[in-house]
């Protein structure tokens, strides 16, 4: 992870300052931009492996940046948002951002997200492991087999598909819309309650305490995040 270039787009100098110092202490290279336009120019110049993007930029919304950036780069985008922009987050995640952090955030949270995203970004597409384990669950995608404490767990086809999508996007926030699209196809816009019910099923089958999940995490109002 050392030596990776990170582009930080944030208009507040003091926030840039501590984020930069935290990242540099990790051995990462940081380049900065204050506005969306500057950010796009800088992104083209420094080819970042990760972009940290503030949602409250003075010259436009984050969705526009992500749209433009996604046109030529697959590098992960971490969004910084205030809680009042709860629903702006959905837009920017749907546009292709990978994760978000709600302000204020601690250095520890920031670094954890950055590490996870860099790891994700470096994994070659198509090389996902056939076997994944989390908690006391083991999933073997080649055998379509889910084991919990060594015993087979029976999942319906949709539950299995949802599990596969979540695991493939581990560490990334998936919006309700993205999950519905990936698992149910496009025709189920009004059936978002199905998604919540099926996530509930997975929790009951695979979590120790479904009311306090440790792997199938809820991002309230936004979507879900699978945590390995």
């Amino acid at each position: 992870m050392k030596g990776a270039t990170i582009l930080l787009i944030e208009d507040e100098r003091q926030i840039r300052r501590f984020v930069r110092s935290a990242l540099e202490k990790e051995g990462l290279r940081v380049s900065e931009a204050e506005t969306r336009r500057e950010g796009l120019v800088e992104a083209g110049r420094c080819q970042p492996e990760l972009v940290i993007l503030d949602l409250g930029l003075p010259d436009g919304d984050g969705v526009g940046f992500v749209d433009d950036f996604r046109a030529w780069s697959v590098a992960p985008v971490l969004v910084l948002s205030a809680r009042s922009t709860e629903y702006d987050k959905i837009g920017v995640l749907d546009a292709g951002a990978d994760d978000y952090l709600t302000k204020p955030f601690s250095v520890g949270e920031l670094l954890a997200r950055v590490r996870a995203l860099l790891r994700r970004g470096r994994a070659r597409p198509g090389t996902e492991a056939a076997r994944v384990s989390f908690g006391d669950v083991e999933v073997d995608f080649s055998l379509r087999q889910v084991l919990r404490r060594g015993e087979a767990v029976r999942l319906t086809p949709l539950e299995y598909r949802l599990l596969a999508v979540l695991v493939a996007n581990a560490g990334k926030v998936m919006t309700h819309r993205q999950l519905l699209h990936e698992v149910w196809g496009q025709a189920t816009g009004d059936n978002s309650h199905y998604l919540r019910i099926y996530v509930g099923h997975l929790r009951h089958k695979l979590e120790d305490d479904p009311a306090q999940p440790r792997h199938f995490l809820t991002e309230t109002g936004v979507g879900y995040r699978f945590h390995l």
Binding site: K103, P104, S106, G108, T220
Partner: protein, 513 residues
Amino acid sequence: MLSSILLSEDPLSPPWQRYGLAVLGCGAVAAVLWPFSSQLDLPNTVMCFLLAVVVVALRAGRGPAVLASVLSVALFDFLFVPPRFSFEVSHAPHVFTFVVMLAVSLIVGQLTAGLRAQARDAARRERVARGLYGLARELAGAMGVEQVDESVARFLQEQWNAPCCLLLPTAEERLQAVGGRGGAVPVVDAGLLLQARDAQRPLALLADDGSGCHCHVLPLAGTTRNRGVLVVTLPGDDGIGPLLEALSALVSTAVERLHFVEVAQAAQLEAVSERLRSSILSALSHDVRTPLTALYGLADSLVVGPPPLPDEARDVAGAIRDQALRVNGMVGNLLDMARLQTGPVCLRKEWQPVEEVVGASLKLLGGALEGHPVRVLGLAALPLLEFDAVLIERVFCNLLENAAKYSPPGAPIILSADVGPLMVELRVSSGGGGFPPDKLQKVFELFERGQAETTVVGMGIGLAICRAIIEVHGGTIRAFNPPEGGGCVAFCLPRGTPPPVEPEALPADGEGA
């Protein structure tokens, strides 16, 4: 001169004047002809009398024309036919002359008067039509119901000298006179007015003041509902029905147009003020949080280092960080309260399991619940409920945080639920002393705290936010001290009708996962 007599539009005079005119006309003809009676032969004299009858018929109508006919024959006989000054007839053919003269004058008089009446009627119709046209133009441009009322009143005043009154429903569905001119018409029972408004046909009532006037109550039919009534008082009600209907159609169109203009303006105003409110709150939130984020992050980077700080400095940095977080929480609460209290809340309701929101709240609170084991009972079996997840998460966070703050370390926090026929009740109970019994209601008020002199920090805003959120969801919230000790906050959410869920079959054995 003749044409001016024919076309003059004077309204009919009172009867005595008209009959007087008949007498006067015949008398005048007799007086004028008298000096020339020796030169004029009888047929010419007859002609002159016939002319008088025609003029009287034109000016005074049918009755006076009959009188004039009879008078003419009488005067002719008395003054001009020998023997003079006597009704005696010396020459037998004269009787025939009188009969024919009477018949001709009666027929001519009636025809003339009929024609005249028709002309008069046509002129009146034309005047009314022109008036209606002018009224329609005025109403199309009216900017308010007062203006509509004024135009209609002027129109009716000019056309029939009839007082009128426009009554429109108030916010409480009571009919009220526009422009405070309710006194212009005889008092009509309010219930009758409402009944008339919802009727399809106009209602004609005999006024109760003994004037013999008819009170016409015209419902103003709109596209979606009847908008009000127009009350018109007229001396009679013959043949005026179609006109009144045309009038009520015009007025209803105008009133309805104004109503929809008002609705559109109100909606626009609300949208603008809503946008303004939410942009002010967002800007405020952004402006306050930005420095707090910097403060929190900078202090945190001092704490985590490297380089490691001396212990004391690190404690101070940690304290700064924690206080910044606390201020952030308070700002969040205040902004939420402002958002909830200053206008309609835009809810993003979706059908979802409660368990999920509880899990998210527990994870969000994390360290704040440390030392309090949380037990979640019976949430998995709940039906789906329709709510705004972000707001209900806030409710759970506030309740759990309160429970942790006000109960002794190690005391468990219990989340449980009950399903009623219409509502689902969710409870958060904790150990400790519970709520002061006299403050069970007041704790939900803004800036009210259960224990006034307490070392626990807080502003007394959390439960007020909970109540505001639950109320916009159509639920209720209450606090009580259960008999087994401790305190409990319970809130209800309506069950509604969840969308159907088709269960998916498990694959048969041997088909993999």
